[in-house]
């Protein structure tokens, strides 16, 4: 640290102009760097605290639970004796967010390609901003829109899917408005911006030299993208998709508003019903007693662990790309 040695040399000297003893800044430096470091450590501690407190408050409820927490579908923590399990919630969370990812990822990557390679250069900033606006809309507004607008229009779409693909169990049953499928569409819209903005970032880093190499070989625009852009950006796009998946899993309000709660796992995704970890917490909290809260905290802990794993894996994948080349 060159600054410190420089400062030390003048320690004890008087400032020529003011005649006051010159501050060495030693103490100030120590306090300030301590505060900065402390804040960083605080962030780490916060993560640990989240895990600790959730576990702590979940245990009493789990001990009172008369059913298997992992495999039971029913959620009845206020009953005597309390019976609750996360099977239906886990099913709803995983299915709705994967379906959302399936819808969102191709569109988001298409958007990123459009903005990076097809749209006029002058418009890239504006178009990126337009997509980011999707992220600025709060989830409660998506919920309101999903409940009173989108779901009314999803019924028709669901019926068409049901007629065409009804022989596949997922698309079977009698289609409704407030289904897991509708929730997935809302989730897909909500995770579009994050996937597309991270993909764009990755595409920006594709070396121009490789793009030109492909062009000089006589590649069309699409062939250039396939040859130089997509292989380079693959891990980045995977990471971006996983981050989107994590978002979709944790999204609460929009899903809670769109879904109609019907007990039990239902593989007919077009039918009304379904619940996710997060939507169940939002919907059941008001009526939850002490055990009920503990049970919700327990399910929140599971959600926390799942999203943590997905996010850590996603970050690891995105980070690996940085070391590449």
């Amino acid at each position: 640290m060159t600054s410190e040695t420089g400062v030390e040399a003048t320690a004890g000297a008087k400032h020529r102009a003011t005649g006051r003893p010159m501050s060495t800044g030693r103490a100030g430096d120590r306090i300030f760097s301590g505060a900065a470091r402390g804040s960083g450590i605080f962030v780490l501690a916060l993560m640990a605290a989240i895990a600790v407190f959730l576990i702590w408050k979940a245990i009493p409820a789990l001990q009172k639970n008369e059913a298997s927490f992992l495999t039971t579908e029913e959620w009845n923590p206020n009953a005597i004796p309390p019976k609750f399990g996360i099977a239906q919630l886990a099913f709803g969370t995983v299915v709705s967010s994967f379906l959302a990812l399936l819808i969102a990822a191709p569109v988001a990557i298409g958007i990123a390609l459009f903005i990076s390679f097809y749209a006029p250069r002058k418009l890239t900033g504006l178009l990126g901003y337009v997509v980011d606006l999707l992220a600025a809309v709060p989830s409660i507004v998506y919920g309101l829109w999903g409940l009173y607008f989108l779901s009314q229009h999803m019924e028709g779409v669901s019926k068409i899917l049901n007629t065409l693909l009804g022989w596949i169990p997922f698309f079977g049953g009698s289609p409704g408005k407030n289904s897991i499928f509708t929730a997935s569409v809302v989730l897909a819209i909500m995770i579009l911006p994050i996937i597309s903005s991270i993909s764009r970032e990755v595409f920006l880093q594709v070396p121009q030299a490789n793009v030109e190499a492909a062009q000089a070989l006589g590649a069309t625009r699409w062939e250039t993208i396939r040859m130089a852009v997509l292989p380079y950006g693959r891990s980045g796009m995977i990471g971006a998709s996983m981050l989107g998946l994590g978002r979709a899993m944790g999204e609460t309000i929009a899903v809670a508003m769109v879904l109609t709660f019907v007990p039990g796992i239902n593989i007919h995704l077009l039918e009304d019903g379904g619940a996710t970890f997060a939507s169940n917490i939002a919907n059941s909290f008001a009526e939850a007693g002490e055990t009920g809260r503990g049970a919700l905290i327990a399910s929140g802990l599971v959600l926390f662990v799942i999203t943590l794993v997905v996010n850590m894996a996603a970050r690891a994948v995105v980070a690996r790309r940085k070391e590449f080349v």
Binding site: G25, R26, R37, G40, I140, W145, T220, A282, R293
Partner: protein, 302 residues
């Protein structure tokens, strides 16, 4: 010379790209355009329905009255208590989150030197951006309300604590980016004058990055302002005005929408739309203000 060469003598070597390749190129182009248009549909639709439905109740009464004594089926009533609650909560959130986040970013950029601790913090800040907002709410519920027994009935301040958890990582990242943009010769020039490191950071580095940090903070505020899930768990519920964030249940715009939207009466649903419009307007204003600040001045572009 070649201009006069007859077509018969011509031996084309340039040829043209095979039609299959051209077709694929066009197809890809079409799909990519469609993808972008697909993203515009929900954006336009959301804004259209929110404005169309929300404008009905966008009147003076809405911003002057609370819901005290107003039931779902009644006309009238307002979101004054919710707007006040949201503004107070977001302000407190910023007061808590910004110093921690800025100091953390300073540690990462100025002190961490890419050491093990810095990389660990950096990684977890990234991971933290992915914490579901409902989990942040559950955490505050479990620690603040249930374990420490403070504000058991819920209070605006508890909501701020939860929102701060969501705000910290975004502000850390934004500040980090801005600090990295501050040219290193600026720091060295200051060190060369014998200025201690902390004064260099406070009086040279931070001011240079200030507008950028401000932009990041405003965007982060806009983001947490619409968060509903954690508030649902920790601020309680009230129809009345409560300006004290430290005691008793407090309203907020997002929980106001949640409550009114779940009421089957059309009057309540109308109020929900108007609150949504209000929320979006505030968020958009913050966004635009942030862009304006950002355009004013950028570090590094001297």
């Amino acid at each position: 010379m070649s201009a006069v060469s007859s077509p018969a003598k011509r031996t084309p070597t340039l040829g043209s790209v095979s039609s299959a390749r051209k077709l694929k190129d066009r197809l890809a182009q079409g799909l990519v355009y469609v993808a972008f248009l697909l993203a515009l549909i929900p954006l336009v639709s959301v804004l259209w329905t929110v404005v169309g439905n929300g404008i009905k109740r966008l009147d003076a009464q809405f911003f002057q009255f609370s819901m005290n004594g107003v039931s779902g089926k009644d006309a009238g009533g307002g979101a004054y208590h919710a707007v006040v609650g949201t503004l107070e909560q977001v302000l407190i959130t910023s007061v808590i989150a910004v110093p921690i986040a800025v100091l953390t970013a300073i540690y990462l950029v100025e002190y961490g030197a890419n050491g093990r601790l810095a990389r660990l913090i950096s990684f977890f800040v990234d991971v933290m951006t992915g914490i579901p907002s409902i989990v942040a709410g559950l955490f505050v519920l479990a620690m603040w309300l249930l374990t420490l027994g403070i504000m058991k009935e819920g209070a605006g301040f508890a909501g701020s604590l939860a929102l701060a958890i969501l705000m910290i990582p975004t502000v850390v990242r934004a500040t980090e980016e801005m600090l990295k943009l501050v040219p290193n010769d600026l720091r060295e020039a200051s060190y060369a004058l014998g200025v201690p490191r902390w004064r260099t950071i406070c009086f040279v580095v931070l001011p240079t990055a200030l507008t950028g940090i401000l932009t990041g903070v405003m965007l982060a505020v806009a983001r947490v302002m619409g968060e509903t899930a954690p508030l649902l768990l920790v601020i309680g519920f009230t129809k009345a005005i409560n300006t004290n964030p430290l005691e008793g249940p407090q309203g907020s715009l997002p929980t106001f929408i949640w409550d009114q939207a779940s009421d089957p009466n059309q009057n309540a649903i109308d109020r929900a739309w108007t609150a949504a419009l209000t929320l979006i307007l505030i968020i958009m204003l913050l966004n635009i203000a942030a862009r304006l600040v950002a355009r004013r001045h950028r570090p590094g572009s001297r």
